[in-house]
């Protein structure tokens, strides 16, 4: 039998029961639609998170004090008997692949400018921060390249702090008080927006040593290392490990490469997308049962026709193929409609709630359509086999 004729016969059968086929396909459509919509949401979230994480660049390695154990509590949060020092950070600059090193101390303090006061996040940071974290200076300049231990009392304001403290007035050159110390404003930053809930605009940047003194700390909270494009993260990490162990005597710090973090994050988000898609898949399962039922009914109703086809000389496999084909056609039509539903839904959602990241990828769409066809195939197997196994004499005799 020609493929073309085969298709025509199955489509003819599907079309001859319009209402029934419509409802069966609708079931699959709702299932596929929800799978597509939900995976679009998952994928959107995935991309959103990756974008958030990579806006600092990807060639980063972070070093935190303390060995992170099963507690999952980062050493940065709590006190530590073995601090990471500014000198540790300086030492890492000797690694050839390392482009820049930034030491970080974070805290919270009241900032006063004239009569205005604001309690905000203070970052003690190195001059290389704009390059490493991909920050843009809006006016003035970033912290100058002073000796780390003898940095001058300069401060750079995040865009929001600048606006809150100085409004439309001039900030450059003004003196501000942070905690009990006085600083001179030498620059302000472009808005960077929120990063996973941390507002980088509501921030004041000061030299690391000044921050350590202000917060009465010994240890840095983090050292961030920017390495050359194309170098292996693992190799740089192992050199960092070697240098720090030589300085500390043991591995009392934790190294996190951005690469590994993104990998883990990607894995988690993929699982999430799959899980959410799986929830939508329940509907698809029910839709599959729908096809199974309708095909069972069809085989029952068309027993006579099956007997006739056998008498006219069709093989068992042809009968099997015809009914399987019918199930697949039903499911595929439903699948296509479901794609429209899902993509439309995702678009509508993106339109109504712009904050919600959605992304529909062609691979997912293709996979969803294949899934629909597979559901049809699976649901069709049982009825089609029954049809093929019918005894022609009995089939012809049935009412």
């Amino acid at each position: 039998m020609h493929v073309q004729d085969f298709i025509q016969l199955t489509v003819n059968a599907v079309r001859s029961q319009r209402m029934r086929s419509f409802l069966t396909a609708l079931g699959i459509a709702v299932g596929i639609g929800s799978v597509v919509l939900l995976t679009s949401l998952g994928e959107g979230l995935h991309r959103f998170m990756l974008a958030e994480f990579t806006q600092f660049g990807t060639n980063l390695i972070g070093i935190n004090p303390g060995k992170v154990t099963t507690h999952g509590v980062s050493g940065a949060l709590i006190s530590n008997v073995r601090p990471l020092s500014i000198e540790d950070a300086q030492a890492l600059k000797r690694i050839p692949q390392v482009v820049d090193v930034v030491s970080v101390v974070q805290g919270n303090a009241a900032v006063e400018a004239g009569k205005r006061q604001r309690r905000t996040t203070i970052y003690g940071i190195d001059p290389a921060a704009p390059e490493v974290f991909k920050l843009q200076v809006a006016s003035g300049r970033f912290l100058p390249d002073d000796p780390p231990r003898a940095a001058r009392s300069f401060a750079v304001l995040g865009s929001k702090v600048r606006e809150e403290l100085f409004g439309s007035g001039q900030a450059l050159g003004e003196r501000i008080r942070i905690g009990s110390e006085r600083f001179r404003v030498i620059g302000s930053m472009e808005s960077k927006g929120q990063l996973l809930g941390f507002d980088l605009d509501d921030t004041v940047w000061i030299p690391t040593a000044k921050a350590l003194a202000m917060f009465n700390r010994e240890s840095l909270m983090e050292i961030d290392v920017l390495y050359e494009e194309g170098s292996s993260a693992d190799e740089v990490a192992s050199q960092i490990r070697k240098i720090l162990i030589a300085r500390h005597g043991s591995e009392d710090f934790t190294i996190t490469t951005q690469e590994k973090m993104l990998e883990v994050l990607g894995k988690i988000l993929n699982i999430l997308t799959l899980a959410v898609g799986g929830l939508g898949g329940i509907s698809l399962l029910v839709g599959g049962v729908g096809i199974l039922t309708i095909m069972t009914i069809a085989v029952n109703e068309r027993t006579n026709e099956i007997g006739l086809l056998r008498a006219l000389g069709s093989e068992k496999n042809q009968i099997l193929g015809l009914f399987l084909g019918e199930a697949i056609v039903l499911a595929s039509i439903g699948g296509l409609a479901g794609l429209l539903l899902g993509v439309g839904g995702a678009w509508l959602l993106g339109f109504l709630v712009p904050a919600l990241p959605t992304h529909t990828s062609w691979t997912y769409l293709l996979a969803a359509e294949m899934l629909a066809a597979a559901v049809g195939l699976l649901a069709g197997v049982l009825p089609a086999r029954r049809a093929a196994a019918l005894n022609p004499v009995d089939a012809l005799r049935s009412e």
Binding site: M1, H2, Q4, D5, L9, N12, A13, S16, N304, E305, G307, L308, L309, R310, A311, L312, G313, S314, E315, K316, N317, Q318, N391, P392, V393, L396
Partner: protein, 224 residues
């Protein structure tokens, strides 16, 4: 060209074994016109089904055009059925959602014949049976006689060597019935073997050879 030897067919009905055919020997030559007659349950339909390869005997051998059909698998049997045998049923068995044309075309589609050739042959056959103007009608738009003509057209489109008709007039009024019988006899005159099951004695009388079956065996055969 048809040779059945020691054919047996046993059905299991509940606990009981029913012998539908008991060691039947039967043969027919090319172009014969045979009527199989007998009371209900005498095994005449079973015999026809076995000749048509719709049913497998439980014992014995069946040779058709010097092919030993009893050893063929499903595929090969389907092939023989497709090319050598045409069926005409009491209830026509037309696919209700297909047009007359498409119904007649069905065996050609199953055999994988090309579209152009198919259309030519279908048109020709429908014309020959006088239903060319009904080609695009569905079965429910046709009269009983027209339906049976479509069915006969379908049975002959593959140019089979045998036509098996099971009560072909049983569901028709007298006029249409006669009509159908004439068509079948005309086909028989073109050297197609015609085997017809009927319990209409008048119809049976028309056949050149009559077989009377009783209780799963051939009681009387005017030909042998």
């Amino acid at each position: 060209m048809i040779r059945l030897q020691q054919i047996q067919r046993v059905f299991q009905v509940g606990e009981e074994e029913v012998h539908a055919l008991r060691n039947v020997d039967f043969s027919a030559d090319k172009g014969e016109y045979i009527a199989i007659m007998g009371p209900s349950g005498s095994g005449k339909s079973t015999l026809l089904n076995i000749i048509g390869l719709l049913d497998r005997p439980d014992g014995g051998t069946y040779e058709l055009d010097s092919i030993m059909t009893t050893t063929l698998n499903d595929r090969e049997q389907a092939h023989v059925r497709r090319h050598k045998i045409g069926f005409v049923f009491q209830f026509f068995h037309l696919v209700p959602r297909l047009t007359a044309e498409q119904n007649v075309e069905l065996p050609l589609v199953l055999a994988g014949v090309d579209k152009d050739e198919r259309h030519l042959r279908v048109r020709e056959t429908l014309g020959a049976f006088g239903i060319g103007d009904r080609a695009r009608h569905r079965p429910d738009q046709l009269s009983g006689g027209q339906r049976q003509r479509v069915a006969i057209a379908r049975a002959t489109i593959m140019k089979p060597s045998v036509i098996l008709a099971d009560e072909p007039t049983g569901n028709l009024d007298r006029a249409s019935g006669n009509d159908v019988v004439h068509i079948l006899e005309e086909l028989n005159r073109q050297a197609i073997t015609l085997i017809m099951v009927t319990h209409d004695p008048e119809l049976g009388e028309r056949a050149k050879r009559r077989i009377k079956m009783v209780d799963g065996g051939i009681e009387e055969d005017t030909g042998s």
